[in-house]
């Protein structure tokens, strides 16, 4: 449906921004994501999966990216990586794709409305959380290549 098309557009353009397509002319890179279970923060999970898959494929990337979802609860507190229940109760959900170079914003999509300050706070929290996710990528890749 339209929602899937919209998600595909977000993912595709995020990947296009980091993959060095110039090094692979006349090549199609096909990224297939199959949702096995959705317990909240689906879009950022897809982004993380996409990046790790691109890493695993050995494609040349300009930077890594990770997805972080922030939920703004009714009382104003910011919750990272919300569950489905927390997403429903939140008054705004912001999903960012953060790049590994200087923690810049690659992709942003929001649900619900929030003030400008709240958005900046969520972005700052997401950028801090990105460090943890990139560390996870590093550990995973290290584990994978230490066996062989």
């Amino acid at each position: 449906g339209v929602l899937e098309r919209s998600r595909e557009q977000l993912l595709r353009q995020t990947c296009e921004a980091v993959v060095l397509g110039v090094l692979h002319p006349r090549t199609a890179i096909s990224l297939v994501l199959q949702v096995l279970s959705d317990a909240g923060s689906l879009l950022s999970c897809c982004l993380n999966a996409a990046c790790m898959a691109l890493l695993d494929a050995g494609l040349p990337l300009a930077a890594l990216f990770c997805g972080v979802t922030c939920a703004l609860q009714p009382d104003g507190t910011i919750l990272l990586d919300p569950t489905a229940r927390q997403e429903q109760e939140a008054r705004a959900i912001l999903t960012f794709a953060i790049s590994s170079s200087e923690r810049k914003v690659l992709m942003s999509t929001t649900k619900g409305s929030c003030s400008v300050e709240e958005m900046q706070q969520c972005l700052a929290a997401a950028q801090r959380a990105a460090t943890t996710i990139f560390q996870f990528y590093r550990d995973s890749v290290r584990r994978r290549y230490s066996k062989s």
């Binding site: 557009q9 794709a97 690659l106 942003s108 999509t109 649900k111």
Partner: protein, 278 residues
């Protein structure tokens, strides 16, 4: 002496202008195209509300049709708003006839999200009788001429068309249980918020230009669309991939979007005032 051609090397051609802080059509980097809109309560006489918006050459028409339906079981007190954006092959060469392409579908989803996020129309207001009858607003947005910045024009056309909608009074007859539509008594819709979209194109990973034309969109390395409402709240920060931006650049876009909102609101108010003696 080497002459740069717009068709042979479009990017270099554009860069020459951007270096001087302007664009080939004479605008500055932060300048919008002339926004005009017509919403004589008969852009489309068969629709319940309609508006035609032109942003430079980009022309978008929105028609709203109201129908009656039974509300969904899990939300018995809510009506429906169904937006749909069509990019027919007449608006630009790149669109072929057939099922809607990805751009049209993504744009439709964006509009649905803007309506939901901004709460411009509260679905509970569309309910007539709890569990039995509610309004369905079909909002069809058709692009007649595509010259970039579709999202801004569509949001504006939608807002203008909804402001134009007159819904007849519907009552449910106690004895027969059937609905009675009183076409003589019409009321406008309650529009709670007025969201306005502002789009930017990112050039060469650093420059932000406002209100891109189709040519600029093709040469750009990314786009950002910010939707704000009259209270300065963000209804949407839509950046579908593209060049990465720092938080500061994003904040710059938001500030400009808030300024743009004030201009557009003035435009809407001016036109409404001119047609109010109805």
């Amino acid at each position: 002496f080497f002459f740069l051609s717009r068709t042979v090397e479009p990017l270099e051609y554009y860069r020459r202008f951007l270096k001087e802080n302007c664009r080939p059509d004479g605008r500055e980097l932060g300048e919008f195209r002339t926004t005009t809109y017509l919403f004589s309560s008969g852009s489309i006489t068969t629709a319940d509300g309609s508006a035609l918006v032109k942003l430079g050459n980009t022309t978008v028409i929105c028609g709203v049709k109201a129908e009656l339906a039974a509300p969904a079981v899990d939300s018995a007190n809510k009506g429906y708003i169904v937006p749909n954006i069509e990019l027919p092959s007449l608006c630009a060469e790149r669109f072929r006839s057939g099922p809607p392409g990805e751009e049209a579908q993504a744009a439709s989803q964006f509009i649905a999200d803007v309506i939901e996020n901004s709460q411009m129309i509260v679905k509970e207001d569309l309910c007539i009788a709890n569990g039995k009858l509610a309004w369905v607003l079909y909002c069809d947005i058709i692009c007649l001429d595509y010259d970039g910045n579709l999202l801004d024009a569509s949001v504006f056309a939608l807002l203008a068309a909804l402001k134009n909608v007159q819904l007849p009074l519907v009552t449910i007859n106690e004895e027969t249980g059937l609905s009675e539509v009183n076409l003589k008594q019409k009321n406008p819709l309650t529009i709670r918020k007025h969201p306005v979209a502002t789009s930017f194109a990112i050039f060469d990973d650093t420059l932000l230009i406002v209100d891109p034309t189709a040519e600029e969109e093709d040469l750009a390395t990314g786009t950002v669309t910010i939707v704000t409402d009259e209270e300065g709240r963000l209804c949407s920060v839509h950046k579908p991939g593209g060049s990465p931006l720092t938080g500061a650049k994003l904040q710059d876009c938001i500030t400009r979007a808030i300024t743009r909102h004030k201009e557009v609101k003035k435009l809407i108010d001016k036109v409404i005032k001119s047609i109010t003696p109805k």
